[in-house]
Amino acid sequence: MPDWFSPDEWRAIALSLRVSAWATAVSLPLGVLVAFVLARRQFWGKQVLNGLVHLPLILPPVVTGYLLLLAFGRKGLVGQYLDMIGVVLAFQWTGAVLAAAVMAFPLMVRAIRLSVEAVDARVEQAAGTLGASPPWVFATVTLPLILPGIIVGSVLAFAKAMGEFGATITFVANIPGQTQTLPSAIYAFLQVPDGDGQAFRLVMVSIFVAMAALALSEWAAKAVARRISGA
């Protein structure tokens, strides 16, 4: 199979899959927490949190990338302290993970939040009266009931991360093997003469991954929902 693609193309595909998988995995716990808090809690600054979460969805991606650079660049607000402990994100594949995670976060939170809102809080209360402490109620009642939302949110986030371009190229540039993800590679191939063929192959890969992700999420969410509803 590898000889279908040139080493450059292959590196871009592998890097994109790795970046997207990490971005999804790292943001999932935070995504569940934020979705839960937004769905259930009333607190001062809730609208601010909601706005922050959704900001990457509406801002031009290049702006998000630039803000990430300001914050997490080696001299950035947070970056300078990370630098002291030896963590560098800018122009590294880990930076691509951060950019993809930030861009995909609103989609993930929206999907999970919807499923949290659909959970009947009275059923959770009943679990409490049966002796389950709040963490146990969450683990044994809430979590299983929001699983379809978690699956859909994760797959959406993964697909979004696979396609992330603007923020990634702004924050971590386009270094082959380091930060050159699938969309960056397509862009790079289109910049050189005779690159169309390579670009087209990667475009096909992108379409395939996106379609497969959607189909998978539909199937998984339906299977889980069927198990929950017992139909």
Binding site: Q125, G131, S229
Partner: protein, 366 residues
């Protein structure tokens, strides 16, 4: 084990201020909607924190606002059965039933098999809640609460969401529950017939206050409480009787302390004890023993209390042997008969007036 409850809470436009005890057996919390019943249950379960209050259960303090004690729901060990069953949709019936057992500190208590047997839910164990009927779901919810080894069972209108046929289906299971477990039960309801069938004592709530507490027979035959007990049409009393004979013509003879009572066939073995609810409007009063009358049941009684209503009606409380009976007559009749406290009279009751749903087994007195 006894639970002592005292609660005060101000809601918008409504103040709750109640204090009562829940001894062993079934205690009914009775009152019309808006009387504060659900708030009491919420406060007991720990789902609501009252402004002031104290709840203790067999020496353990669950809530004491003065001492700043307020145990969270999962540490109260109050088994709750709600009006809506609140079963876990993602678990099977068996997993639902065993859920509370997992968190219970002592693994003793009622056995899984006994509860399944008592509630008749063995054929449902592998199914999911969505595939059950309303009555089946409520039985599973009762089993789930029982199996969490609670120190007390709080049932918040468990039958209110069900139709008459489903209520009739569950009632015998509730009677089994009452007779086969040692756990005190607080049974919230606004149905006089449910309470007279199940409860030993009753706490009557009205507008956030306790109006009266006492044994069911005494409270429900109190003519002064009629307006609170669902109005004159719902008014009635409870008497206990023993099945004496099944007559050939389809009637059953019950013996009460005041004399025999004939009712349409009651499906119970001879010698069985029953509680019969008799609606006040089905009872007539005569000064002499009537002769040549179709009514079969004529029992000597004494007037204990008399309450003239706001309209044309009057409530008369009668004593038949040990039992109290309520009769609803017009004020004109009361005056014409010259009824007064202490007057000897005869209570007349049509056999067919008593509905089968108003006959049940009495609680086994400890």
């Amino acid at each position: 084990m006894t639970m002592q409850v005292s609660l005060q809470h101000r809601f918008a436009g409504f103040a709750l201020d109640v204090a009562f005890d829940v001894p062993a057996g079934v205690t009914a919390l009775f009152g019309p909607s808006g009387s504060g019943k659900s708030s009491v249950i919420k406060a007991l379960a720990g789902l609501m924190r009252p402004d002031r209050g104290r709840i203790s259960l067999g020496g353990q303090v669950l809530l004491d606002t003065d001492q700043r004690i307020c145990l969270p729901p999962h540490r109260r060990r109050i088994g709750c059965v709600f009006q809506d069953d609140r079963l876990f949709p993602h678990l099977t019936v068996r997993q639902n039933l065993l859920y509370g057992r997992w968190f219970s500190p002592d693994k003793g208590g009622v056995s899984f098999e006994a509860v399944v047997e008592m509630l008749g839910i063995a054929p449902l164990l592998a199914r999911r809640p969505q595939t059950l009927s309303g009555g089946e779901r409520q039985r599973v919810a009762i089993g789930r609460a029982l199996l969490s080894n609670p120190q007390i069972l709080a049932m918040d209108e468990p039958l209110a969401a069900l139709d008459e046929a489903r209520k009739a289906e569950i009632m015998p299971y509730l009677e089994h529950l009452r007779d086969q477990t040692q756990i005190p039960i607080l049974y919230v309801s606004h149905s006089v017939s449910e309470i007279t069938r199940l409860a030993g004592s009753v706490v009557v709530l009205g507008k956030g206050r306790v109006l009266k507490t006492g044994p069911v027979a005494e409270v429900f035959s109190d003519p002064n409480l009629t307006p609170w007990l669902g109005g004159v049409r719902e008014a009635g009393s409870v008497i206990t009787a023993k099945v004496a004979a099944q007559d050939g013509d389809g009637l059953t003879r019950l013996d009460t302390l005041a004399g025999p009572l004939w009712l349409p066939k009651v499906d119970a073995p001879i010698g069985a004890s029953l509680r019969v609810r008799i609606a006040a409007q089905d009872v007539m009063i005569a000064l002499q023993r009537p002769d040549g009358i179709s009514a079969l049941n004529i029992l000597p009684a004494k007037v204990v209390a008399l309450r003239m209503g706001d309209g044309p009606g009057a409530m008369v409380q009668l004593r038949l042997g040990e039992d109290l009976l309520l009769a609803r007559i017009t004020q004109r009749s009361a005056v014409q008969l010259g009824l007064a406290v202490g007057a000897p009279v005869f209570a007349v009751l049509k056999s067919v007036a008593v509905a089968p749903g108003d006959i049940g087994a009495p609680p086994i007195t400890p």
